[in-house]
Amino acid sequence: MPVRLSAVIRRSLAKRRLAPRYSGAGLLWRGVRNSSWPRVWREPPLKKSYDVVVIGGGVHGLATAYYLAANHGITDVAVLDKAYLGSGGSGRNTAIVRSNYLTPEGVAFYDRSLELYNTMSADLNLNVMFSERGHLTLAHTDSAVRTMRWRAEVNKLQNIDSSVIGPAEISRIAPSLDTSPNTRYPILAALYHPPGGTIRHDAVVWAYARAADAHGVDMHQKTEVIDITCEGGEGPDGKGPGAKVTGVCTSKGDVSARVVINCTAGWAGLIAAMAGLKLPITTHPLQAAVTEPVKVFLPTVVVSGSLHVYVSQTDRGELVFGASVDPFATYDMGGTLDFTEELAGHVLELMPAVSEMRLLRQWAGLCDITPDYSPVMGFTPVEGFLCDVGWGTYGFKAGPVSGEQLAKCVAEQATPELISPFALSRFDSGMLVGEKGAAAVGH
C-alpha cells in the first residue's frame, strides 16, 4: 500500500522532473535561437520490478498511469505497449467526445470525462485542440425520435445541455444536411448536444505520456506482454479466479509487479486469458476513413444511428467518417471495401453535396465489444489484476475519467462510486447496464 500523504506533498514529491513548458513564447524563443525542444518522454530501460504495470499505451493506460502518479503519488509505474504509444484505438478513432448518454450513471461518468477534457490543454500543458463544436444525433424514424427524447430528458435532469431539435434548426446548424422530407430516410429530428465535439486524439495520448513521464512514469514502447504470472489460482499455473498476480512476462524480459492493469481494448480478452480469466468481450474491427481536404463547411459532428455513420470535418479540412463495427469478430485490421461503400451511400443520403469529394484513406482499429455497450472496469477475480476494458466504439471520450477513477481504485483499494456500475461482476448477476436499453429500442 502506498504511504498516505497529503495531496500537496504528494504532488510536489511526484513532480520529479521539470519539463520545459510549452507556450507561444517558448516557441518564439526557440525559433529565434533555432534550438529544439527536449524529448516528450524518456526512453528508460525496463526495470525488473514495478509497483504497478499498466498494459496498453493508449489513452486509458496512459491516463491511469498519469493519475496514479499525479493524484496518488504512485510513481513506480510502467506503461507497456507492444507497438508505439497510441497505436491502438486511441490513435485511430474519430475523436468524438460527448456526455449525452442514456443512463444517469453513464451521463455522470462521461460528464466528468468532458470536464477533464475541457481543462486538459492547460492541465497537461499541451494543446489537445478540444473543439467544442456541438454534436448532432439524427433521427430518421419515430422510434429514433423517441429514443433521442429519452436521452435528452435524462440528460436535462443531470444538467447536461442536450435537446431534441427539428429539421429547420438542424438545417441552420449544419446547412449541408439534406433535411427535405422526401429523402429515403428523412431527417425528422436530432438530439443536439452543444458541449460535444472533437479532440486531436494523438495529442491526448502525447499529453498524458509527457505528463506521466514528468512524474517519473516509465513508458516502454515495442514491449509486448506475452504472459502474466500469478499464484494461488484455481487454474493451471496458479491462474484464474482466486489467484494473485505477481508480474508480467514481456518480449523484453520479465517484470514483477504488485498490480497489473489491463488497458488493452481490442486485445483485452487475450490479456485476460493470460491471467486465466474470460471476459464478456468480442473483438470486432471498427473502420474509419478520411477524405481529401476541402474548405471547412461542416461545423458540427453529425451522427446517424439508423444509417450507421458519423462524420465531422477537421480543422485540416478532411471529413472524418466512422460507421458501425464490422459484422464478424476478427483481429485483422486490414479493412474492407464494403465499409467504404456503405459509408459513402449513407453519407450521401445525409449530404448529397459531397459526392464529388474523394476518399483518401481508410483504416481500422480493434474494438472490445460488450453485450451492454458499457465498459468493464475495476477489480477482477484475480487479486491485483484490474481491468479497464470493454470500451468498444466509444472509449476515447472516457479516457480521462477512466484513468482518474482507476488510479483511485488502485490507490484506495476500493471501487469508486463513478465506476461501480461497470464492474465485471454484473455479468454474473445478469444486471447489465441500461445503455443496452435504448440500443435495442427502435429498430
Binding site: L270, I281, L286, Y310, A329, D332, T393
Partner: protein, 101 residues
C-alpha cells in the same frame, strides 16, 4: 470481402451471410446455474487464432453451419461442419452491427 465456405453452396461472400458468433453449447435449462448460464450468454473465448463459430447462409441456402476460422489470418479450416448445435442468444441487443462513437 471474405469468402465463407458454405457446406451447401460453396464459397460465398460474407455479405451474403449472417454471422452468429462464437460456437458454445447451451446448458441444460432444467439444471443450469446462474453462473453457468450467464457464462453461456455473455462470456467469450475471443481468441486470436482458430475460432469455432457459426454462420447462417442468409441470402443463400438459409442453413446454419459451423466453421473454424483463424481470427488473425481469416483462413478457414476445411471442411466446414454442417449443422451445429450451438444456438446463440439473439434479440438481446448485442448486435455488433451497432455502435455509437
Amino acid at each position: 470481402m471474405l469468402l465463407v465456405p458454405c457446406p451447401h453452396c460453396g464459397p460465398r461472400n460474407s455479405a451474403d451471410m449472417s454471422y452468429q458468433g462464437e460456437a458454445s453449447s447451451r446448458p441444460d435449462p432444467s439444471s443450469t446455474t446462474p453462473t453457468e448460464w450467464r457464462e453461456y450468454l455473455y462470456m467469450k473465448h475471443n481468441p486470436a487464432g482458430w475460432l469455432r463459430e457459426n454462420w447462417y447462409c442468409s441470402s443463400g441456402c438459409r442453413r446454419f453451419f459451423t466453421v473454424e476460422r483463424h481470427t488473425v489470418t481469416s483462413e478457414f479450416r476445411e471442411p466446414p461442419l454442417p449443422g451445429s448445435k450451438t444456438p446463440r442468444p439473439t434479440g438481446d441487443g448485442a448486435d455488433p452491427a451497432r455502435g455509437a462513437p
